[in-house]
């Protein structure tokens, strides 16, 4: 039996969370089926572990064994038969628009040989009526509102409001928009058609000879997608104005006045030193290794539409699909949408609210009741997939003669492409990050994502941070060089600290330890000896430079909710479930071990992307009254997923939930067995698999015996915890079988033997998040400094990154290998972003169908320093993590993007040091360098 068939025996019966989407008078059920539960490393492979397991320590990555043996299952590995949808399946192919200037008229498939003909051709005019569309939503809650209030059309389910498939007679609204859907009834026919059509698109599409601009319905091209962000901060003695501190109405009313004051403050003092910010960054393909692929099937009998996707946003996808099929002119009656969420082969944000889910779901309406597969090849992935949007940043950074930064002004424009995706939110975070890691009293920062005809821009690793830190960190160096100041000293003079106000005006309520970060960077030989290293290279005829950059990436959003379940089975093994969607199993690995010190053992299984957990909390963001006095209400249910949300957010939630299980179940059972009612958590400890009483007056109890007693006595076998953070964690008291416990959770339920219904524990004495944090925009920070040494060949413009030293405040290091792995991955991706990866706009770029990895150059091993330590004369990358302090309170930080954000500016600053030229247009290609050197 093939591994897929084996796996699906466990996969298929697992039913997911069900919720409902109101669509006019109808009700559409939404069901998400989670990926298969992951067995911990020690139980999931052919090898016998030889190293004893240590609670809290990860020996290898969960699911690692399936990956090194080729057994790991991705979306691309599925066939309809694996899902019980039948032995036969169809194959779908979209044909993309080749222009936005001329109207698409029709297809001409006469050149397709007979063995390559589709059984179904769908053009845009077949999709539905032309009723106005509803605004697109980016999460399930909004989708419900959308569908309930919508009279929109099946063919235009998304904001813009553009056709899913261009209607004949109309010009495409953007590149990457399909003009036709072809359905094939066999794999051979599909492949024959692909061979016949690839690189010959023009032979099969007919366009009007006359120019015909596309219609813009809601947001014309050239105008910004909502929402725009404008942060003006002016703190001058008694006159204080900022987004975070002023009433929203007053903020808008006084914005112009304070913009003028900021402008005055920048221009009136002739002693001020200013640096222009002129930054351009290119569109970038996430280039995850597995091109998007999925299956769709409409079960007519049960009016159920099922899709299988590797996605970062299952909630968004399932809601969007349901909203589309709930339109009055839908070709299918859909009463339930089932989304099988499977592990993606990479994501980096490119699978977050991807248009792929809608296009996949659409195929089911035209496959004659058969399951259908949509699988992009790499050329198609480049054509259709979300991009990191290109950006342009213009502005000014001002300092005084005492090295103190006085003000920053910036206009940040992202090229959002043809549909509104996450790019407006990317712009928003860039606006915050462009203030850098510094105290700046005045700011005037506007950011927007602009609608264009390009392939849609979404989010990508860093979420606006790489662009923003590139801007301020290169400008800082320009000021330092202009004044003859040490770049380290200039940064030191302005470092943000706890209580600093960001450019939004929100107060930083964390110990950033930026001074310690700078201490470590400054003391490192790569920086301390930079002059000598440069001279040594010069003696060998090599041009060398050293660059420094600092970042303070914000992670999380303005307020974040998350959920976890921790269970003990009758044999004493621990299982963890989380709503978080994991891509590389790093989050699963981390969550599986961080409960080890609390429960005496690492998890034997971790279920990620679990869609059922939240429902068990008994909470809702829609519960009334909507305030913290209502124990059923929470301000935020579950946030979207990203690797940077593991270290703090998800870990906190699973640990607090484990503590609730320990206190509410294991502790009272131990009291009973020992006959000591007064025992508290502080009185007990784990010694291997044995729970011991610290005073030694009772015999130790095995975890298996405790588990059996839990089940026998009807005690909770699992805890489900929900946490919410906005500036600080919501805290509350909860009554448990072990007594009252104070937790940093806002929701807690227990799972009881012999019943499906969780036991809801209403919170009491709730401490809500601080009011001051409500408009702070972000509240969690991951500071990092990069020092980069590089060589440049002035005859070719080729750059070689010789060494990277990263100093990171990661809080508690939970799994060291995962922290440094994130750093190394971020450095490689950033090197590609800074030096290699380039993609022109329009039909010169990915939209023309000829782009693949032969043209889009991503970093290879030779492009990155491969040794994990700095040694003079060798290429290496060294990660220095600040030692944990009591101020960390045992918490980690989300660092998945932190190191990446300070790579591009450090490279540009190193180039400036090497050749005395400033490069602020990414990627810094050899051609740009040669042009710069010649100027």
């Amino acid at each position: 039996m093939h591994v897929l068939d084996q796996d699906l025996l466990a996969y298929e019966p697992e039913m997911g969370r069900r919720s409902f989407l109101k669509a006019g008078c109808a009700l559409v059920a939404l069901t998400i089926i989670s990926p298969p539960r992951l067995l911990a490393a020690e139980t999931a492979g052919p090898a016998t572990p030889v190293v004893p397991l240590v609670p809290g320590v990860a020996r290898e990555r969960i699911e690692g064994r399936t990956k090194v043996t080729g057994q790991k299952i991705y979306a691309r590995d599925f066939h309809a038969r694996h899902l019980g949808w039948g032995a036969a399946q169809c194959y779908a192919m979209y044909l993309p628009a080749l222009t936005t200037r001329y109207a698409f008229l029709n297809l001409n498939l006469s050149q397709l040989p007979p063995d390559a003909q589709p059984v179904r051709v769908v053009l845009g005019n077949e999709l539905g009526s032309s009723l106005p569309a509803a605004p697109k939503s980016l999460n399930a809650e909004q989708a419900e509102v959308t569908a309930a209030n919508s009279s929109g059309s099946f063919r235009q389910p998304i904001e813009g409001s553009y056709d899913l498939i261009v209607r004949p007679g109309s010009a495409a609204n953007y590149l990457g928009q399909p003009v036709a859907l072809l359905v094939f009834d066999s794999l051979a026919t599909y492949r024959a058609a692909r061979r016949a059509m690839q690189f010959r698109d023009k032979n099969f599409q007919i366009y009007s000879p006359d120019e015909s601009q596309p219609d813009d319905l809601a947001t014309p091209a050239g105008t910004p997608w909502p929402e725009l962000v404008h942060f003006v901060k002016y703190f001058d003695g008694a006159e204080n104005f900022s987004f975070a501190t002023v009433d929203p109405d007053a903020y808008q009313a006084d914005l112009a006045k304070y913009r003028a004051l900021v402008a005055d403050s920048m221009s009136l003092n002739s002693d001020f030193i200013s640096a222009d910010v002129v930054v351009d960054t290119q569109a970038m393909d996430p280039m995850f290794m597995e091109p998007e692929c999925g299956l769709a099937f409409y079960d007519k009998t049960n009016t159920r539409l099922s899709v299988l996707i590797g996605t970062q946003s299952p909630d968004h996808d399932v809601a969007s699909i349901a909203a589309m099929y709930s339109k009055a002119d839908s070709p299918l009656k859909v009463s339930e949408v089932v989304l099988h969420s499977v592990y993606p082969g990479g994501g980096f944000g490119g699978r977050d609210c991807s248009p792929f889910s809608m296009l996949l779901a659409l195929t089911a309406a035209y496959s004659d009741g058969k399951p259908v597969q949509l699988m992009y090849d790499r050329f198609e992935q480049f054509r259709y997939g979300l991009k990191r949007p290109a950006s342009q940043i213009r502005g000014t950074l001002v300092a005084d003669n005492d090295m103190k930064l006085q003000a920053i002004r910036a206009q940040i424009d992202f090229n959002g492409g043809g549909t509104r995706n996450l790019s407006p939110y990317v712009a928003g975070l860039a606006a915050l990050c462009v203030g850098g890691a510094y105290e700046i009293p005045a700011a005037d920062i506007a950011a927007q994502s602009i609608h264009s005809r390009e392939i849609t821009g979404g989010s990508q690793r860093g979420f606006g941070g790489p662009e923003a830190f590139f801007a301020i960190e290169t400008a800082l160096d320009d000021i330092a060089i202009h004044q003859g100041w040490d770049p380290m000293a200039l940064r030191r003079a302005n470092l943000a600290t706890r209580h600093t106000r960001t450019v939004v005006g929100g107060i930083i309520n964390q110990d950033l330890r930026l001074a310690e970060v700078m201490d470590a960077a400054e003391a490192h030989p790569l920086w301390a000896n930079r002059a000598r290293i440069k001279a040594d290279h010069l003696e060998r005829g090599q041009v060398y430079g050293t660059g420094l950059a600092l970042s303070m990436q914000a992670y999380g959003t303005a307020g974040d909710g998350m959920v976890a379940a921790v269970e003990i089975d009758p044999d004493g093994r621990i299982n963890v479930r989380s709503n978080a969607v994991d891509m590389g199993n790093g989050s699963a690995t981390t969550l599986g071990v961080v409960i080890g010190p609390i429960l005496g053992a690492n998890a034997q299984s971790v279920e990620m992307g679990s869609s059922k957990v939240f429902k068990a909390t008994g909470l809702s963001a829609r519960a009334l009254p909507a305030d913290w006095g209502n124990p059923h209400w929470t301000q935020g249910e579950v946030m979207s997923s990203s690797a940077c949300l593991t270290g703090l957010h998800q870990v906190h939630t699973v640990q607090q939930t484990a503590l609730a299980l320990m206190h509410g179940s294991i502790l009272p059972v131990a009291r009973t067995i020992w006959g000591r009612t007064g025992i508290q958590l502080a009185d007990i400890a784990w010694n291997g698999d044995m729970l011991v009483l610290r005073d030694g007056t009772r015999p130790a109890i095995g975890r298996g015996d405790l588990a059996r007693a839990i089940y026998a006595r009807g005690m909770p076998y699992g805890a489900v915890g929900h946490a919410y953070i906005q500036g600080s964690w919501v805290e509350a008291d909860f009554d448990t079988p072990g007594g009252t416990i104070h937790l940093q959770l806002d929701g807690l339920s227990y799972q009881m033997p012999n019943t499906e219904t969780p036991l809801f524990r209403p919170r009491r004495n709730t401490i809500p998040p601080p009011i001051a944090a409500q408009n702070a925009y972000r509240y969690a920070w991951a500071p990092c400094a990069n020092v980069i040494g590089l060589t440049i060949d002035p005859t070719t413009g080729l750059v070689c990154i010789e060494n990277v030293v990263s100093v990171l405040n990661a809080g508690r290091i939970l799994v060291p290998e995962l922290v440094s792995g994130q750093s190394q991955g971020g450095i490689a991706m950033a090197i590609g972003y800074t030096l290699l990866e380039d993609m022109p706009d329009g039909m010169a770029g990915a939209a023309d169908g000829t782009w693949n990895l032969d043209r889009y150059r991503v970093p290879l091993g030779a492009d990155v320093p491969l040794r994990a330590i700095y040694q003079p004369g060798q290429r290496g990358q060294e990660l220095i993590c600040l030692p944990e302090t009591p101020g960390d309170a045992g918490a980690g930080r989300g660092i998945a993007e932190a190191v990446m954000c300070a790579v591009a500016p450090a490279i540009s600053n190193a180039l400036r040091d090497a050749v005395n030229k400033r490069f602020t247009s990414l990627p810094i290609t050899p051609a740009k360098i040669m042009k710069g050197l010649a100027s």
Partner: protein, 170 residues
């Protein structure tokens, strides 16, 4: 006329008219061997790497299955990631990749495993000196693309395995 080749030791006899078909499609569609991954389809990313002994040569070489047609492997012995499986243990390079947390999403991992195994199998024959090891590793896997991990851990694991097995004789 027939095409004859072996996949993981099992003979495959096909009508020669199937010669233009791609090896990766054959592995996926006919044999359900989905461990070999499709990445770029043009032989650049190397996620689809398999091992082949192609007569008259006896040494295994990496083959890019997304760009290799069946008529190109007539007479060859193909080994996929599934064919490396041992009944009771992982191979040292697989253990090393695990131990070093070499990968994240893992989609590129089968390609790295195959290329590294071929490299390790041939290391003693090539007479590679310790000082040349880094260059030899670069030659073996330097074209493979990993988007997640940044390569450091893959290279470290291969280097360590090469040193242990070949130079120390573990």
């Amino acid at each position: 006329m027939s095409l004859v080749f072996y996949v993981n030791g099992v003979i495959q006899t096909l009508d020669a008219r199937r010669g233009p078909e791609l090896l990766i499609d054959y592995l996926h569609d006919e044999l359900d061997l989905s461990g070999t991954k499709f990445g770029c389809g043009i032989g650049v990313c190397r996620a689809c790497t398999v091992s082949a002994r192609i007569p008259p040569d006896t040494a295994p070489v990496p083959v890019i299955s997304c760009s290799t047609t069946l008529d190109m492997i007539d007479g060859a012995q193909i080994t996929t990631i599934e064919g490396l499986r041992l009944p009771d243990r992982l191979r040292p390079i697989q253990e090393a990749f695990l131990r070093h947390f070499a990968f994240q999403c893992g989609y590129c991992t089968p390609g790295f495993v195959m290329a590294a195994q071929i490299f390790l199998d041939g290391l003693t024959d090539t007479g590679t000196l310790p000082a040349d090891l880094d260059a030899a590793i670069e030659a073996a896997v330097g074209s493979h693309i990993c988007r997640c991990s940044g390569y450091v851990r893959y290279y470290t694991a291969i280097r360590e395995t090469a040193e242990n097995i070949v130079f120390r004789g573990d």
